[in-house]
């Protein structure tokens, strides 16, 4: 199914807002959305929430024969699945351009950077090596799938434990998790990708574009870096021309963001390890209840509370008094009482003829209507005409 097209006025609004340094969700230019990392019950299962964008990564391993030209290295296999669950525009099974792009970028980020020690994955040289498979499933697309996928993939790899093996000559024994504790992969560094969206031919840039911003962007720059400020991959798409200073500035920003995210990942891994050691319930079941509609717990929304009292007082003082609920009757003409005012145009009148138009249209206001009312008439506009015999 195709995505609903963006209307012209929405596109213009977004671009104009970006020119005035305003984002739809109130973030600053270099702000990331709230990142939440949670783990499943299995080792190697990780959920990442980047705002509303949600992805899940699962790492699994298998003993296979190695590649011929690399007999003593393990194999890494990456796969990003764009499921229709994430967005109506994604089709199941169809290799769209975006899916090819994401797959290539993830491979370059993780495989070419040599973040995993593949030689430690070798069991019997030339015959049996571990094949580590990372599957990333997109659960909800609200922009910036690349960053979410890279965070999920590297966190899942850090979280993963492979079964212990021992070799006696040609015999290989794989121990189950009950027999021997599974061992983690040896990871040298954690490359994380940071996306920069460019607008108006490279004049304005935003970090971590949301889905609407992605639709109106001109180009995208993805920098994958680790916390030691080593660039693992850098890719620019969209055909925009970037200046040298812009790329340098982006890489500096990426360095800062990556170190923050790496800290977050380490903290999440530490918490998970503590929870597992304590034997408490951890994983999928625990992280789910927050999203249920019937649950009382909800995510906190940050609200500016610094000067609430003063602002509220100011509003109350400057605001007009609330309209009377029971307006007192007015006697415009002897014999008729009028309760309430007819509706006035609250948007401000510019020309005099608008006044007349208003009178014609709203036939409940104005004194000239009074003579036509001969009985009690509750008209629209909250006007109540009472024929007061007693006043005559």
């Amino acid at each position: 199914m195709k995505d609903t097209p963006l209307s012209n006025c929405e596109r213009d609004f977004l671009l104009k807002a970006i020119e005035e340094k305003k984002r739809l969700d109130g973030r600053q230019t270099y702000d990331y959305r709230k990142i939440k990392i949670s783990f499943g019950t299995d080792y190697g299962c990780c959920f990442v929430d980047l705002g509303q964008t949600r992805v899940m990564a699962q790492v699994s391993c298998e003993l296979v024969a190695p590649k011929e030209n690399r007999p003593n290295e393990g194999i890494m296999f990456f796969n990003i699945e764009l499921s229709p669950m994430a967005s109506p525009g994604f089709e199941q099974g169809r290799q769209s351009e975006l899916s090819v792009k994401l797959n290539r970028q993830l491979e370059r980020c993780l495989r070419n950077s040599k973040c995993i020690d593949t030689e430690s994955l070798c069991v019997v040289s030339g015959e049996k090596v571990w094949q580590i498979r990372v599957d990333v499933h997109t659960l909800n697309n609200d922009g910036n799938l690349m960053d979410a996928a890279s965070i999920a993939a590297i966190t899942a790899l850090c979280h993963f434990r492979r079964p212990d093996v021992s070799t006696q000559g040609q015999e290989v024994t794989v121990y189950s998790p009950e027999e021997r504790d599974p061992i983690p992969l040896s990871i040298y560094h954690m490359p994380i990708s940071v996306s920069f969206a460019f607008f108006q031919q490279g004049t304005y840039l935003l970090v971590d574009p949301c889905e609407r911003e992605e639709r109106v962007m001109d180009g995208l720059l993805v920098i994958a870096m680790n916390k030691h400020r080593e660039i693992c991959s850098i890719q620019s798409s969209g055909g925009i021309m970037l200046l040298k200073e812009q790329v340098m500035r982006c890489s500096k920003i990426a360095g800062v963001k990556v170190s923050e995210i790496t800290e977050l990942i380490s903290e999440a891994l530490l918490n998970d390890r503590k929870a597992r050691k304590a034997g408490g319930k951890c994983g999928f079941a625990e992280s789910m209840p927050q999203d249920r509609i019937t649950a009382l717990k909800k995510d906190e929304t940050p609200v500016e509370m610094t000067d609430v009292t003063e602002t509220a007082n100011g509003i109350i003082q400057k605001g007009e008094a609330a309209p009377q609920t029971v307006p007192s009757p007015v006697v415009p003409v002897p014999g008729v009482g009028q309760v309430g005012q007819g509706l006035q145009n609250s948007w401000g009148l510019e020309e005099d003829d608008e006044d007349d138009y208003e009178e014609e249209k709203n036939d409940n206001s104005g004194d000239e209507q009074v003579e036509e009312v001969t009985k009690m008439d509750v008209g629209e506009g909250g006007l109540l005409f009472i024929y007061l015999d007693s006043l005559m």
Binding site: K2, T4, P5, W347, E354
Partner: protein, 293 residues
């Protein structure tokens, strides 16, 4: 700027027209319609263990031996003669692709539009190249369904002066099953705005044009600033439409007008509150029942 805050409350479902529901046979997917094997199955049904079962949520319609289920909420299934409001998604060779809230994008052929210079002009190669000057991606048009292709895609035409590119106004996207089929879908409401009730659920609200100058054949869009009064009327109408749609009231010019009149006692922005919506829709329902009965 003052903001409204409200605590979450349990919303009670108000069935506004209880009598109406008694007449209809509403089914949900999986409901058995009949166990009698003598009926032919139509759209929205399937046979499961010799029992005719519904596959969509809607009302059962029976015509002699044919049973079909008309879904309440569906994509727009166009028929010849329907008026639609759509958005151009692609400009292809000799045709435009229009998004009309149906399963497939509708097609607007170059030969089905009015070009300046008269209707009988032959389409030349230059016309193909200047297609983008007439209609671009993102433009809104009103058109009529000319025919339906075999795969269900609609072929549109704008071969009348009342159809064509839409200028300044407000688009409200609703479900197609809420729009009542009528003789005409273009109305100049007495409250001061005009409305196009597209059969595909897209409703277009625009200020009533002063004089009818349509020499350009539907491609002239006036960019004069719209007065604040007209804007207020259109905003109020839009909120009324949303209120009616939320309570599943059939939309046609009379119901929209009654709702507008019932809403005059509230401020435009208050019409988005659920309790105000309920109130004005109840008033509208009352008036409509009085009018019928």
């Amino acid at each position: 700027m003052a903001a409204d805050m409200r605590l979450p409350t349990i919303r009670k479902t108000v069935s506004l027209s209880a009598s109406a529901f008694d007449r209809k046979d509403l089914v949900v997917p999986g409901d058995v319609i009949t166990s009698d094997t003598g009926f032919m199955r139509g759209h929205g049904t399937y046979v499961d263990d010799d029992k005719l079962t519904a596959s969509v949520a809607g009302e059962v319609q029976r015509v002699d031996k044919l049973i079909c289920v008309r879904p309440l909420k569906t994509r727009f299934n166009g028929e010849v003669g329907d008026v639609v409001v759509g958005r151009i998604t692609e400009v292809q060779q000799k045709r435009w692709k229009v998004q009309t809230n149906s399963r497939l994008d509708s097609v607007l052929l170059l030969s089905s539009v009015n070009l300046p210079g008269g209707e009988l002009r032959r389409r030349s190669a230059e016309d193909e190249l200047t297609m983008r000057e007439y209609l671009q991606e993102g433009d809104l048009i009103s058109a009529e369904v000319q025919s339906v292709f075999l795969d269900g895609a609609l072929s549109l035409h704008t071969r009348s002066l009342k159809y064509g590119k839409l200028g300044q106004g407000v688009l409200v996207q609703l479900s197609p099953s809420l729009i009542k089929r009528q003789k005409t879908h273009f109305h100049n409401l007495p409250c001061g705005a005009s409305i196009i009730l597209g059969n595909n659920g897209f409703v277009w609200l625009y200020p009533t044009p002063g004089q009818q100058e349509e020499e350009a054949g539907g491609f002239y869009t006036s960019l004069e600033p719209v007065s604040l009064l007209d804007r207020e009327v259109i905003s109020r109408l839009r909120n009324c439409l949303l209120a009616l749609a939320a309570h599943k009231v059939l939309l046609y010019d009379t119901s929209v007008l009654y709702c507008y009149e019932s809403s005059l006692q509230h401020q435009v922005k208050d019409l988005l509150k659920p309790e105000v919506m309920e109130e004005i829709v109840m008033l509208t329902q009352q008036k409509l029942l009085e009018q019928e009965g």
